[in-house]
Symmetry: D2
Subunit: 246 residues, 4 copies
């Protein structure tokens, strides 16, 4: 529902004659994105049918501004489909929430086999419970978090872009990032002008703190800035330097 | 966006094999409405372009689940269009928020003329302010609440029905009720099965309190129930008797 | 945050002089609940710290109007704590989503032992994964849905009562109903007047459909009504008769 | 409801052992704000009682995440209180939505007198309508947008900070900015650590676009960047240079 022109149409009602000067749609959409005038982007709406592992569904559902209809294990029998990573990685040291370097191939195989075995085992018992007539709402509690669920998920473009900004980020778990990347492609085809503005002013932008801006001003003047005197911590400093290409 | 079949499609994903028995769309939609399974109705979305007086826009906007882009008096010049009721009514005695009986025709004319005069007067000064170059954001504060604004208003079907239940109600102000009635007609054409279920289980239904249900049970048994012994107040009693056709 | 008097205070601002007549707090709160004037109830807010199995957390989180901070298996190691029902029941025949009659004791024991064994098994592998240094975000996917998580959950009173109406209902899963019942007790102590109004006008009330009301009117007049001629289905008829104590 | 320590408490549940390293509350709150981990800030809640002109209430109410109870002109009689600016300014040329330079004192006086006269006039007719017994819901439509209303407004800290970021901004209308500034002082006293983090990472921060970051990287290297070759428009360029102190 909606398109780039629905965004423009809503903006021209909101800002009326004030938008006459910006006579090209592309420039207007960029202007809206740049100034966080988010409501015109809410005029577009999209519905996805998503199949995804339960542990990813649990992250996904935290975005509260969407409409959701999820497959229910109370009413229905879950299929024997579960997610196993193609390769497994170690807990990252410096990024508390992410994955780090790869395992050697024999440990990797051992872990993956163990994941597969347990998934098969719990499903075989789930099936047996169902045959015995156990209430589905209890039988399903024996399944592991890598089992697939599915839902219809409907959201407006503004909130979708907010979701994609967080979930296409490198700090997001790999398994949700791959969904975000596919959805970014869909957005690109659906609303190309909004997509470009999103890349420029949101996804590839950076928010620089008050102190960060002061440092940048000094650096541009050619002054030296020492991390220790800057008033910001080591990790934040490294992030800033990485943004500045230093 | 969406239709009766989108509701059915979402419900069948949610409730899966549990919905196989209800093989007709109409019966399924009635079942969903009756049991307050509201999420499938959220799969339909509609956008209205509404022109309405500011005092009505202020009531309307209190429904927080919609997406809105309103004409802005900060950016644009408001048109010389205002709302005047065709006939004016007295403050109701027993309904604290509503309108009661009509005025005699001469008082009615006097009031309506006064409303028109003031509307014209404040607009002539507004126009003069704009000519003088006064900031629009201040100039508009001289307009009365009956001036027209407009917005795009986008909402999902579940929340639209909730809006219509409240605003098509006889306790709603007449001036918003006429909008609600037009919107009800649109819903009827758009999603006829959902509309019928809404009329049956929501708009024309009644919520009966715990004590009200006890009274009904006695009445059905043929017992007499005195208001004084029922434990409920006079006004609530009258409402209950009116629902029961007594 | 807030109390019965905060509800009253907000209502008196909203409805101003219109509420002067209702000079007792109890009557005013009943009036607000009866007429679905819900915003004054939003002035009270409560925060719970809840420990609950993941399959219940997944139902709980669908209520989108709350603020939530949940324990994260990406950052932290989950404890070896899982939920096992004290007794297991068969899938209900007439209630598609619920539990029905109990198993004989030997089948019951067999099922419960199987649930316990699998829970212990997947945790032992989870622990091994963590020791091997596997990324936590993947290791946790091997846990079953009966493992405990925890969250802070903060919500306003109006939305809490809506949650409790749905989750204290007999159609809700037993495992979430026990939480709802404890929370009802807390509400009773916190805002006793709002609690009483909620029981009378919401939890123990019934919404009667348009056709249902017509049937009730006939029954009160002493007329006979045959199910077949009533225009409503068998299940709906039975529910109505049960409400009417027939 | 809540304090800096409620934010910390919620974050420590969410991120569990992952937050042990950050053992000081101040550093943790900064970390959360910097990384847009917004949910812990939702654990604090505040209620304001605000008296404000209707045209400001209309902007304010667009923030949909708050709970509101507003004084109703349908139930109650509005007081004879209206807002008149101390000094009036011309429509800004380069800021389409704002106020620009001041008028000469005689034009200023003329405009202000006109605003006062109209406000008094419409109220005198409003009073007369009420005396005649006109329904309040119609009588109030004769009042101008500068008349005062009031509401209770309750919101969580995360959404309050979002409101303050937009409304304490120089692009916001002066008349709402003065409210935002008073509220910022209240936040400072209530949750001083969150306030400081907000100033550093949000209010005084700047989001730099993809192209903007490329320009900064060149400037830091001592390269010259011409606006015409930069790929960004004149207004955006000026804003960037202003941020960079050039």
């Amino acid at each position: 529902m909606g398109s780039d022109s629905a965004i423009v149409q809503a903006a021209r009602v909101s800002y009326g004659k004030g938008t006459k000067q910006i006579n090209q749609d592309e420039a207007l959409i960029k202007y809206l994105m740049r100034h966080h005038h988010t409501t015109p982007f809410e005029m577009c709406e999209i519905k996805f049918h998503v199949k995804l592992p339960i542990f990813i569904a649990r992250q996904w559902i935290r975005h509260r501004t969407a409409n959701v209809n999820e497959y229910s294990g109370r009413y229905s029998i879950l299929d024997n489909e579960f997610y196993i990573p193609e390769q497994v990685a170690k807990q990252s040291d410096n990024n508390k929430q992410g994955s780090g370097e790869a395992f050697d191939s024999s440990t990797s195989k051992e872990i993956i086999d163990s994941l597969i075995n347990d998934s098969n085992l719990v499903y075989s018992h789930y099936e047996k419970f169902i045959e015995q007539g156990l209430a589905r709402e209890i039988a399903r509690t024996n399944l592991t978090l890598n089992y697939y669920t599915q839902f219809y998920w409907k959201i407006d473009l503004h909130n979708l872009l907010h979701f994609l900004r967080l979930r296409a980020d490198q700090h997001a778990q790999y398994e949700i990032r791959v969904y975000a990347e596919v959805m970014l492609d869909i957005v690109k085809k659906w609303v190309p002008l909004a997509y470009n503005a999103f890349i420029e002013y949101s996804l590839k932008s950076a928010c620089i703190s008050k102190t960060g801006l002061e440092i940048i001003r000094k650096l541009i003047k050619g002054e030296n800035v020492a991390r220790e005197e800057s008033g910001i911590g080591k990790r934040e400093w490294n992030e800033l330097m990485s943004i500045l290409g230093k």
